[in-house]
Amino acid sequence: MADLEFGQLDVRYADHETLALGGGVELSYEVRGEGPAVVMLNNFAMVSPFWHGFTTQLEGDFQLINYDLRNQGNSKPGPEKVRFVDHVEDLKALLDHLKVDRTYLIGTSISTLIVRDFALRYPERVAGLVLVGPAFSPNGGLRRELVTRSWVASLDSGGIPQFFNHLYAMSFCDQTINGGGLPAYLALRDSFASLFTAEGIKENFLASLELDDNPELLSRITAPTLLILGDGDFSWSESVVEDALARIPGSRAVTLARAGHVPFFDDPDGFQKATGEFLRELVAAGQHVPA
């Protein structure tokens, strides 16, 4: 299908399959296209089918794998409290199940930290990273903790409606918010309230506070890395990008104008162009994965 305009979401799970991980945990996943494997990880405020609208230009060259984290969308969390490391191990289980030995990984916001930790634990499984609007900072974790706690406070005080207002104002850039106007805001608000629960999102955010934000960990990444930022991202400035490039070996960055913290929403074409050029370059340079 054609790429969607801002405010429009694809939530069709028609081609998703289920991987049972034991203990009642299930992952809902989807595989599209053919070529080297690319796994796309949701942040805490999206579900797997959303990726359809942001990746149509990549389908021709890559095998695209998207899935819901264990306590969102069509996946099931099981009875135990979710830990952040569960998301890292779930990714490994999914790759094992799909017999994908090596892959490219795309993370957005908080899932850039799932990607980071996976790349540190299993470097042999990773051929390249695309980190979109990372939740981490190359300078430390205090800001992320403060932001996370403010989101949890919104959930506690006003549930999904208040959290959504908070999230919306921070996630999208000025041009997108004002260009979409009330119709886009109201449409996404209605969808969001129907797709997510306050309890599920809060559990995920609290689990993310377990993370080690030591920026030195970024220096240990060995896979080629592309950072994609929006110039309207609330936590990234030009100088912070410079700090990140100095911190992550073999990294480069693309900043998309008129885009925010989740720039594939604001600029699907720019996101796919940057991602496609980077991945195709890696393939050509021999950083490929078995097709």
Binding site: Q8, L9, V11, L186
Partner: protein, 95 residues
């Protein structure tokens, strides 16, 4: 005939046109749940807002609209309360 019932009838027709079929408004509780539960996607939601604007002359503002669009019944109440809407519905009924 400028009653909420007349607004509800027109709104139902708009909704079914956008969804592409019947919506289960006669089921218990269906009129008080989010429109998503009636089969309205985000794309359809944006089309519905446009259609309401065109049909009833409703202008949206942030504070009112958040509650107004939270269910079918709330939408009907909001539209029926608009002075221009009453005129539009009356004209339609007179034709």
């Amino acid at each position: 005939m400028h009653s909420p019932e007349a607004v509800a009838e027109k709104l139902r027709a708009l909704l079914e046109d956008i969804v592409g079929g019947a919506v289960p408004l006669d089921e218990p509780g269906a009129r008080t749940v989010p429109l998503w539960n009636l089969g309205l996607t985000s794309t359809g939601f944006m089309r519905l807002l446009d259609a309401i604007d065109e049909t009833f002359g409703v202008e949206w503002d942030l504070l009112d609209s958040v509650d107004a669009v939270s269910s079918f019944d709330n939408l009907v109440a909001h539209i029926a309360a608009e002075p221009d809407t009453r005129a539009a519905v009356r004209e339609g009924a007179d034709q």
